[in-house]
Structure formats: structure tokens, C-alpha cells
Point group: C2
Chain length 442, copies 2
Amino acid sequence: MVKTPLIDKSDKRRVVILGGGFGGVELAKALHHSDVQVVLIDRQNFHTFQPLLYQVATAGVEPQSIVYPFRKIFDDHPNFYFRMAEALSVDTTRQIVETSIGYVNYDFLVVATGASTNFYGNAEIQQKAIALKNIDDALSLRNTILSNFEKALQIKDDAQLNSLMDFVIVGGGPTGVEIAGALSELRSHVFPKDYPELNFVKMDIHLVQSGDHLLKGMSLEAARRSKEILERAGVKLWLNCRVKSYDGFTVTLDTGETLCTRTLIWAAGVAGTLIDGFRPEAVKQNRLKVDAFNRVEGYDNVFAIGDIALMSTTENPEGFAMMAQPAIQQGGWLGKNLARLLNNEQLVPFKYHDHGSMATIGRNKAVADLVIFGNTYKTQGFKAWFIWMFVHLISLIGFRNKLIVVINWMWSYFTYDTGIRLIIGRRKENTPVEATTTKAVV
Amino acid sequence: MVKTPLIDKSDKRRVVILGGGFGGVELAKALHHSDVQVVLIDRQNFHTFQPLLYQVATAGVEPQSIVYPFRKIFDDHPNFYFRMAEALSVDTTRQIVETSIGYVNYDFLVVATGASTNFYGNAEIQQKAIALKNIDDALSLRNTILSNFEKALQIKDDAQLNSLMDFVIVGGGPTGVEIAGALSELRSHVFPKDYPELNFVKMDIHLVQSGDHLLKGMSLEAARRSKEILERAGVKLWLNCRVKSYDGFTVTLDTGETLCTRTLIWAAGVAGTLIDGFRPEAVKQNRLKVDAFNRVEGYDNVFAIGDIALMSTTENPEGFAMMAQPAIQQGGWLGKNLARLLNNEQLVPFKYHDHGSMATIGRNKAVADLVIFGNTYKTQGFKAWFIWMFVHLISLIGFRNKLIVVINWMWSYFTYDTGIRLIIGRRKENTPVEATTTKAVV
């Protein structure tokens, strides 16, 4: 394919934003009234609200409700241009980004490519496990879970049956904890009604965490309480453990123990999604080193925000946590700084406002460390759960999405049911299941 | 894979239903309190409300809202068993159905496999066109339409641009008319806002119909009015025309004229989805000949309902139209007849109640021929549109689905917008697009 410019030169200066996650979208919004041409490049034509991916994966909400088309977000921004493409590399000398569908020149470049699942170099796990970083992952996990039970109906052999009905989640951060909680709710209230022929006492949910407590980065109260809630819900916790290998059937832990599952859910870490073309000195641990203005080290007109940006501060020498809040705040802040830059004004160093963090574990159950006017309030249980719902709901883009998610949540709450247990599209199939002998009809 | 019985023998007699469309679901519901084991076999784990597939394809509603998991429909039916499998063939002597995951014995077999898209043997068209018979088709069409516009942004060459922005729909039945109407609404209200860089005067919507009027089977008033509405909406009608060939780029009509499109939407006909194993005498035009009790000709315990069943009556010597109403009514009726059969009572011949038919063409615009107490009322315009919405809404399974579809419809009605313009999953890519030269930024 002949590589051509994505967009013709205009008389305005051009800001190219790579990635439409929380940071990229916030930045593009902040540039609404600036005298620049804004070009957003993303592989998808929609923004994904990642904190609710686990609910798509566990059939709680429709994928459609947690994503929003970029073109719709920005349809009243006359200076906004979108291209659906993958950013491949950057030539900072010629000020050009190479993409999968052509190249684009920039006056200012903002790298907001976010992070991808980190398999720590284990190719086998990367191939056989399911991650949860985008809508495709979430749908693949949903389809896989449901298909497993459909297949289990034909299986009598105990090891085969366990491999289909058991789930191993790796990573005790918010995603891992939230999936474990959601799966245990489904096991209590939904699956036994859907599959009366299966015995759900056999369904084990394992959560493997390398550290000695869950929700690293949150308070010890949150860690203790989430452990308590998960254990009471029958989730088997493996603390101080790492997964050594996984062949699609057997998970081997570094303690030597083995677990048997066809569904290994990998939520053990993320790494910055770096593109080629940056000086090696600017890169550290797959992230771009930025100064207090989000400017990438050694460049004048290249910036990075969110997960991909490594902004070392006194409180966070290793950079901010790779989560939504720093990305959103850096996006908005950089928008203002770019406006200052265009007006030849002094840039203002980024200041992070920590609002705290939370994780939901099930019906009426969540943990939250909230920072309000500088004070930390720790709360667990119903109150935390209610705050979690409220915060996530108002953060969703679009009134229609909010409404449909509220309906789904209220529906599940009152009926102990979800409506979205559908197998549509791709699913993960490791070694095919051999239907040995049939199960007796209960 | 070793073939094993899907379900162990029970002491109850077993009714195996192949296919969970309108007919199969209605029958399984009707057998709720019968003293039989009901086994439903379907390739998907959900029922699809096919009349709204075109709205999924045109980004009007979420796929999740028009499908419903079988296990959820029947979770209070203790005699109901579901298996997700493809029925391959039947051995009527041994009373066994062979499926993709094993075999199943039956005492009574009901074929409700419905119909598939009929490409009339044209392999090229089958490979390059997009049909609209299931959720995968609908999503593929949605993704393709949106991807086309994303690609069009990079194209300057006129023929290439037209091929991406023009759409050719084959078939002037309800599906063809409804897609044409929905696309023209998107062209007027939605796409120009999403893609300000494209000139939508260039977007042509062609509807090719072999007969001399649209909506064959409906009244001439309905045909005339739908033609008028579509023409006023700028849809180009090709009546008395057939598509001769399509290479993924050029559509050649039997009149010799050619149209240029990368998206040929095939809604020109359906054919029964027959499985192997029936006596040739029982088969006519890919359908199973049935008597007035839906019993397949020459068999005692094999029945067929819906699209696959050819029930010749005085009014309909060629069988009922392959639409929802006959399927639903035959499903319910056969349920009662099977109950009679089990009680050694006399079977009652099927009686069809024609409620009429309708098609919607756009905002406030539809045509309807309603049959009420034996009288036909023909109505077009707003009233027909309102009735269309009401009837389709109450027919959807599940309160949650109804609610979410209502919200989507009201949302679109008041905002002239839809929220679901997402490219998620598979799309049809015929010959790759060569990005020749870029378009100027408007």
C-alpha cells in the first residue's frame, strides 16, 4: 500500500494525539477552543471505559454501554480530526508519525498510547491466557466462560470437568479482585439456574497474588477487608505465589502446586505501549520519561500523558500509578499548558490531586480509600459500594450509556440476575475438549 | 472426537426440537407442563429477534437487546434441556439426530431449523455479499459500513470513493426496504456530523428488486407508498432488475447496467435450512412437506414448523410465507397437538390467523396491512410507524430488552442520533482499498 499523508497540511499548527484513552480524550476536549488542528489516532473508533471491562467479561453490562464513538464525542469540535489507525513509529526529526494507513506530520506530538497487558516475557502464558485490557478481551472472556459450561455438560471425566468449571485469576489488583468477586456472585445466583445439570460446588475460583496482600497501593484496611469478603465468598486465595507456567490446562505455581483450568485470566500487570523512534535515554521501563510539563525528556514538542508517561515526583519517584486518574488529570493539564505554549506563556508544572481509589467485590460490597480535601477516609461495605457505583456511573461518557448501565445494575440488583449471558463472537479455545462419556441427567 | 449421547435416557418420552427460532421457542414454551423431556438444540445459546436485525446493522440498537439466552427463557422449566450444537443429520429409523457434539435419541422430532440466505447458487455473490439472517451478519454489516467511511477519508480517486460510500441492497422485501430506509436516515442526520470531511451527496443507496413493485405479499397501497417514501428519501430504485454478478467492486445487473460498491447487501431471498436424512419425497424446494398437523410426509413422529415446513393449504398452495407469524403459531399449535398425541387424543388441524404485515421505512414512516377480526386495514405513515414500534416492542423477549430498546428508540427519535456506531469484531473486506492520494481537509 502506498503510504500517503493522513491529512493535508492546514494553516493551523497541528497537535497529533496518539491514543484515545482517558488521557487522550481529556486532552482533545481541553483543546476545543485552541487555535490548533487536533488529530486523534486510535486503533478503535471508540473510547473504552476500562474500569467496567470486568463487568462486560462477566455478563453484567453490554459492551456498547461502556464505549463511546470518538466522532460522537467530538462532533461539535470543528478543529478535531480522527483517524482509525495504529501508530507504528515516530520520526522526531522530520516530525512525522508513521501509522498503519499512512503518515501524519505534527507540530506537537502527544503520546497517550496507554498500557498493554504485561506477560513478563512468558510467551506460553501470553498465548494461552486471557487478558482484560480491551473490549475484545472482555468479550472473549465472556464467551469463553459461557462456552466452558456448555461443553462441561458433555463431560464426565473429573479432571476434564474441573478444567472447564474452574477459573484461575492472576493478579490481586482491582481487576483481579473485581473479576473474582463477580464470578463468585454468578456462581451463587446465576449459573446454577442456567445449568441445573451441573454441580456448581465443583466450580473453584482461584486468585493468585504475588504479594502478601491484595489491592497493593490501597490501605491495609482495604486489603484486609477485600481478603475477608473474597474468602467468605469462597474464592481461594494464593498469596505470595506466582504462576510459573501454563500449558492451557495445568497452571504451575512457583510453590510447586498445580491448579487445573482451561481459563487463566491474566490481570497481573501492565506495561507501557511504546512506539518506535524515541531516543533510548527517554525510555525507562517501557515508559517515556517526562518532566513536570509532561514533555518527553530531550524533546521540545513531544509530550506523553497517562500510563505511558513516567513523571518522577518526590512522592512518586517511579511515576504515578498506571490508572485512570493521573491520565485524566494530565490530559486536562497538558491541554492548558499547550494553550500557554501557543501564547508564549510560562508553562505550569503538573500537580496531581489524589482522589483515592476503590474496588468493588460484589453485591453491597466494596472497599474505598477516599481523599477529600487532603484527608483520607477509609470505608468498606455498602457505603463504599454505593460510592463506587456513583463515581463510575457519572464518569461514563454519554447520558444514554449512563441510563442503560443504571438499568442493568438495578436489574441485577433486584433480580439477582444479568441478561447478557450470550456467546457472540470469538472465544479462547485451548486444547479441544474430548467428550469422553456423557453426564447423567440430574 | 468420540461421538457420545448428548443426554442420557430418561423415563420420560423425549421431544427433540432442532432450532430455537420463533417456532422452536414457542413450541418449547407450550410443552412446559407436558410429561415429556424437551431437548432444544441450537448453534447459538440465544434466541434472535430477527425482525430487528436491520436495526443492529444500522447502529440503531445493541445486539444484546434483540437476543435472549435460551437457558434464561426456560430456567423455570424443569423438563427442559438445552444443547449448543449444530444438527447435522437425522436417522429416522433409529430415531437419532447426529449433531456437531454427539448424537441424541428422540421419541418425537420437531425440525424448526428455519431458513438461510438464498444466493440462488451464485458462489461469487455468496462469498462477497453480506447477508442479514443472524447477529453475526448484522454486526458484520455495521462494522463494514462504518469502516468504509473511515477508509474513504484517505481516498481521492472517484471510483474508489464511490465504491466505499455507495451501498447496493438486493431484494425489495421488508428487510431490503427497512435497510434502505435506515441508511437514508443515517445519511441525512448522522453520517455528515460524524464525517464532516466527507461529502454525503456522493453516498448513493441503491435498492434492486426483481419484481415490478416492492414488498411483494403486501397490498398495492403499501407497495406504492413505500416506493414513494424511499424515492423521496433519495433511494435509487431498480425495479424489474436482477443482479447478475458481483466481483467485490462492480455489481452487474441483468439489464447490463453496472453499479459500483464494496458493500452488496443481499436480502433477496431465503431457503429452508434442511438437514440430511429425510426421504426425497418429503422434501420440496428445500422445505419439508407437512400435513395439517405439521407432521412430515411419510413419518409418524417427525414434525416440522416455521420456515422449514411446507404446509400446502387451499389459500397457500405453496405453503405459508417464511416469516415469524406462521412459525410462532405453528409452534404453539404443535405444542397442543403433541399433548393430545401423548394423551391418545385426536389431533386438530392447524389454522392460521393472518394478523397482516408491516415494514418501517424511517422516522414516522411505515406501511402496514393489518387484519383485525377478518377485515384488512391498510395504513401508512405515522400511524403505521407507531403500530410497528408497538408490535415489535411487545414481541421482544424480556422486560429489560424492551426497556433498553425503548430508550434507544426514544433517544434516536428526539436527538436524531444513535449511540452505537462502533466497529467491534469482524467486518467484510473485499479487495483491499488502495489509498491513492489523500483528500483535502475541508
